[in-house]
Amino acid sequence: MDISASQSIADGPVYTHRTVRLDDGLDLECGVHLAPLEIAYCTYGTLSPARDNAILVCHALTGDQYLAEQNPLTGKPGWWDRMVGPGLPIDTDRYFVVCSNVLGGCMGTTGPRSICAQTGKAWDSEFPPITMHDIVATQAKLIDYLGIDRLFAVIGGSMGGMQALTWAADFPDRVFAAMPIATSPFHSAQNIAFNEVSRQAIFADPDWHDGHYRDFDAIPARGLGVARMMAHITYLSEEALSRKFGRRVRHDAATAVPASSSPSLFGEMFEVESYLRHQGSTFVRRFDANSYLTITRAMDYFDLAAEHDGDLANPFRKSQTRFCVVSFSSDWLFPTSQSRLLVRALNRAGANVSFVEIESDRGHDAFLLDEPDFDRTIRGFINGAAEHAAFLAGER
């Protein structure tokens, strides 16, 4: 990836992402017609001649399309490169894996940083409200563009799991298997509450400028950083924090508040504080505040049952999709109870469901970490589904 230019602080460094531009655009649920529509994406592996081996991986709130390759912005490995690759559970020797930046994102897909065709200016905080359905409809346009009729599987964790569910609900004939991981069929009041605190932190930043911070060559870095710090706590667990940091104090003169002659309330810094500050400060370099607001709001709106007469089974009735629902025992952001609700609804719909709760003390983030049982579950479910797909193909 080339760094084509380094613009102002507010734009951040600009990269050339692999992007498709669709001039006919997309009708959003809110009524706005968004055109042109640009979708940034990465692919791995080879699409089979029958075009039946495609797996769409959906990223979480602050993820991006750099699934299994170095992220050009952060220089870090792909966010799921321990899961996706040759011989790995999502095996790119067998499958054609697609991951795209979500609608409203800031890594190349149309979002608040994009230029509004009507005004000729960046959308910024005027970007229309979007929903999980809009996000998935955008992905469907990419899948159309790639010439794929039916996805072999849609897999995603957290907000990615919301997308996997939305795919199965909105395009039942285009999803052979769906794997919603560490997710929920609705965003809970508690999660909306956390998002609201995040948003208020951004709004309270003097550099927010009502969302037009780029006109002032500024970014609401403190607000966005605090938002990230708080959100990051919800991705972990008390056990994980205790194990990782305990009550240890950091004896690093460079990061601690300088000791003065008089005793200071914040003369020392706990390791957990230092860690969170680091999380906050690295995040603001790679993520746009308006994107954060747009996407968190899309999560808040998510409630599949409410859209289907209050019965979560309704969108999945007659579904032929094979589901594998996975939760993690210490995930308190998307607890097992919400996965179980989903599983029960899928049973009411008579769908084919596997459901596993993985024992882990690492909280919500466990789906991104090394959990051998989880790896085996993903690999097994995909292999089982592939066997079944071949079985059905042989029947035809």
């Binding site: 094979r322 008579g350 469901v353 596997s354 579950t377 097994g380 589904a385």
Partner: protein, 201 residues
């Protein structure tokens, strides 16, 4: 595969939709899928077994007979199987009702508490019997609802279930020759296996 599981598999028609309640390590559903082209799914209470099953590509969900059958619509399955578990559920009668609501047939196996060794032990020692089939002491046994073959037949009669097939088997699952006499089967059969359907089928 255990011999009694093979007997269960023999009762199931090819290409049937099957739910195995208490699917353990998934042996039966794997067999039904591979050799009989069945759409076979499992419910299992032990998470390690669930993970192992899903890791083998089998559609298994974590759940149990008492709480997770009520969700399925009527007639979702051709067969609902409950192996060696009836005596350990909270509400056996309700579980049977659910099985025969969501499935056209139910296949139930359970250890027979009417076996002569149990009767003899209770009679001679005056203590709760312990055998290789009933191997846990009374204070820690998961088997909270033991019954005999006659008890089970009586329940089927009360509930209006049709016994399409039944057999008594020994501990290893081999068929025992007591097919003609319920009285003898109840005395000499260590386990029993029933194929039931709703009245009117």
């Amino acid at each position: 595969m255990r011999v009694d599981q093979r007997l269960i598999a023999e009762m199931i028609a090819p290409r049937a939709r099957v739910l195995d309640v208490g699917s353990g390590d998934g042996t039966l559903i794997d067999y039904l899928y591979r050799t009989r082209s069945c759409d076979a799914r499992g419910i299992e209470i032990d998470m390690q077994n669930v993970t192992q099953s899903v890791a083998h590509g089998l559609p298994v969900m974590h759940g149990d007979a008492d709480h997770d059958l009520a969700d399925y619509p009527d007639d979702t399955f051709d067969y609902v199987v409950l192996q060696r578990t009836l005596q350990a559920v909270e509400r056996p009668r309700e579980v049977l009702r659910q099985m025969l609501r969501i499935g056209r047939h139910a296949i139930v196996s359970f250890p027979n508490f009417g076996h002569w060794r149990l009767r003899l032990q209770l009679l001679t020692t005056g203590r709760m019997p312990m055998t290789s089939v009933w191997s846990t002491p009374w204070y820690s046994t998961p088997n909270i609802h033991p019954c005999t073959i006659r008890d089970f037949l009586l329940l089927c009669e009360e509930e209006g279930y049709v016994v399409q097939q039944w057999l008594a088997i020994d501990e290893d699952g081999a068929r025992a020759p007591w097919r003609r006499s319920i009285r003898l089967a109840n005395l000499f059969g260590e386990q029993a296996m029933f194929l039931l359907s709703r009245a009117g089928h």
